[in-house]
Amino acid sequence: MTRRPDATLVVGSLLAGIPLLAALVGPLVAPQTPPGTTPLLPPGTEGTVLGTDVYGRDVLGLALTGGLSVVGLTVGALALAYAVGTPLGLLLAATRRRWLDTAGLRLVDVALVLPPLLVLLVLAATGRRGVLWLIVGAAFVQLPALVRLVRSAARAPGRLAVQEAQIQAGEPWWRSHLLEPARAAVGALAVDAGTRVVLVVTVLTSANFLGAGLEPTSPDWGVVIQQNGDSLFLAPETLVVPAVLVVALCAGTNLLTDRLLDRREYV
């Protein structure tokens, strides 16, 4: 018996796969234009496929090189968020002092009422912009949800019996209260990462689009759109090409993760 391919999975893979491929392999094959090339050349002129942008850079080359920062920043922000959020959540779950747990949670919850983009924009307003601040800001706004998730996974009812057995067997505290709960939380964290990717991509590309992120000369998709904002009617492809890549990346990733995580929804 042959199974029909899942349409959502196929569409999701295609949508996410193309920009991802462009981001990871693109920099190796991207065409370059020599310095001094005429800005805003129409597509197909002077050896370019999609023309040039306001700085005279090949639009196809920008599309192929600008995804690396999107992927790199997202991976960096996610890694930092999990590196900080996981131990925090484990410590809150492990503490016997209830006030400490409550205080920790309330503190983390404050970050929940700060819109993510607001944090990055305020950082930029005070001169804190660039790769490091983008990663720190984007990671910071993920913390409330992450800490709560890890704390819940480590405190799942099924874990208590295991923990009790470990304590009675004389296992060290760090093993029974930190290492084993961390292992138990890995599954939940993997699922969370699938859905969190899109949130992080959105906040990072939006910050770059608003001029609150990377240097204006960066080929990042968000920055290129921001820098070419005035060329919308003159050379729409300079904006539309990176915009379509961001649309495909976000829509495809969400479709893919949603479908993979919830395959039994329709049964």
Partner: protein, 327 residues
């Protein structure tokens, strides 16, 4: 989990509505205090000289010193914070560094524009999400459900600036049907608002529709609904009197997130379409490094989030009080 019998006379009674109300308002007030500390810390108390950052590298030491005095940066942090909070509480959170206009006036002047865009978007979002969520939820697993769910899933993930640019390229640049921007000035007509509202709706409809779908699917499977259907109750009556009232209370929280998301999305959409609202004002203040304005906008956005969540809590409390009593 172990439970112990309550001591005589201390039986856990569900908290009354006024007590719950006071509790929620107290939590919201605490959040606002914490947010004001964070906003102040981010803008004024982090390491680095704010005056130098605002004026840039070309500034002379005299200019930096003058701005430091103007911003009160030469005074202790706690005093500065107390002054700022005092100003916020008395409705005077300072003046713009660029225009000299009071921050409160600047914010108030832009709020009407933002409220009209967000309000219009809500008028589109709620009925469309309701129709899509109910249609999908009543036939789970059907082709219609799959298509609606897929479109909602993809739509909610797309950043507003990217979907907005693609729509502008199609409907303003290629087809010429709609204006691309408001031109940075006041509204020139309702057509200016079409694309911003569509972009905001595109992102938020999916979230709400999916939540409504889940509510409808669960309520449709509830025994009382199955029983009423067996008894021969008409589908229309069943939907309006039983399925929707059962499915909608949990969506209030999602609606709060949608309203909050709309106000967050407005930052990007107003910048993209040059609409003169608080979102564009915030971005301009950030680009001009106008710190008193940045502080004002940041506090406004965070306050909106706190108030919207507080209202959502109270409304869902009213719609389904038994859930709250069980907490």
């Amino acid at each position: 989990m172990t439970t112990t019998a309550p001591a005589p006379g201390t039986v856990d009674r569900p908290r009354t509505l006024p007590r719950r109300l006071v509790g929620r308002v107290a939590v919201a007030a605490g959040q606002l205090v914490a947010v004001s500390v964070i906003v102040f810390a981010l803008t004024a108390a982090l390491p680095g000289d704010t005056a130098e950052v605002v004026l840039g590298q070309q500034a002379t030491p005299e200019q930096v010193a003058a701005l430091r005095a103007q911003l009160g940066l030469d005074r202790p942090v706690l005093l500065r914070f107390a002054d700022w909070v005092g100003g916020v509480l008395t409705g005077d959170p300072g003046r713009s560094l660029v225009t000299g206009v009071p921050v409160a006036d600047e914010l108030a002047g832009r709020l009407a524009s933002t409220a009209s865009v967000a309000g219009l978007a809500l008028l589109v979002i709620v009925p469309v999400a309701l129709a899509a969520g109910v249609t999908a939820g009543r036939r789970p697993g059907s082709v219609t459900d799959r298509v609606i769910t897929a479109v909602a899933t993809a739509g909610q993930a797309i950043p507003e600036f990217a979907s907005g640019l693609v729509l502008v390229a199609v409907f303003a640049v290629t087809l010429g049907w709609l204006p691309a921007t408001a031109g940075g000035g006041s509204f020139t007509g309702p057509a200016v608002l079409v694309l911003p509202v569509v972009v905001l709706a595109l992102n938020q409809v999916g979230r709400l529709a999916r939540q409504i779908r889940i509510g409808v699917v669960e309520t449709e499977r509830a025994e009382y609904v199955v029983h009423l259907r067996r008894l021969g109750m008409g589908e229309r009556t069943l939907l309006l009197r039983h399925v929707l009232p059962g499915a909608l209370p949990p969506t209030v929280q999602q609606l709060a997130r949608v309203v909050d998301g709309l106000l967050g999305g407005v930052v990007v959409v107003e910048a993209l379409f040059a609409l003169p609202g608080v979102g564009a004002g915030f971005v301009e203040a950030v680009q001009g490094r106008d710190l008193p304005l940045v502080q004002g906008y940041a506090l406004l956005f965070a306050t909106t989030t706190v108030v919207v969540n507080l209202l959502a809590d109270l409304v869902s409390d009213r719609l389904a009080p038994h859930r709250e009593a069980l907490r």
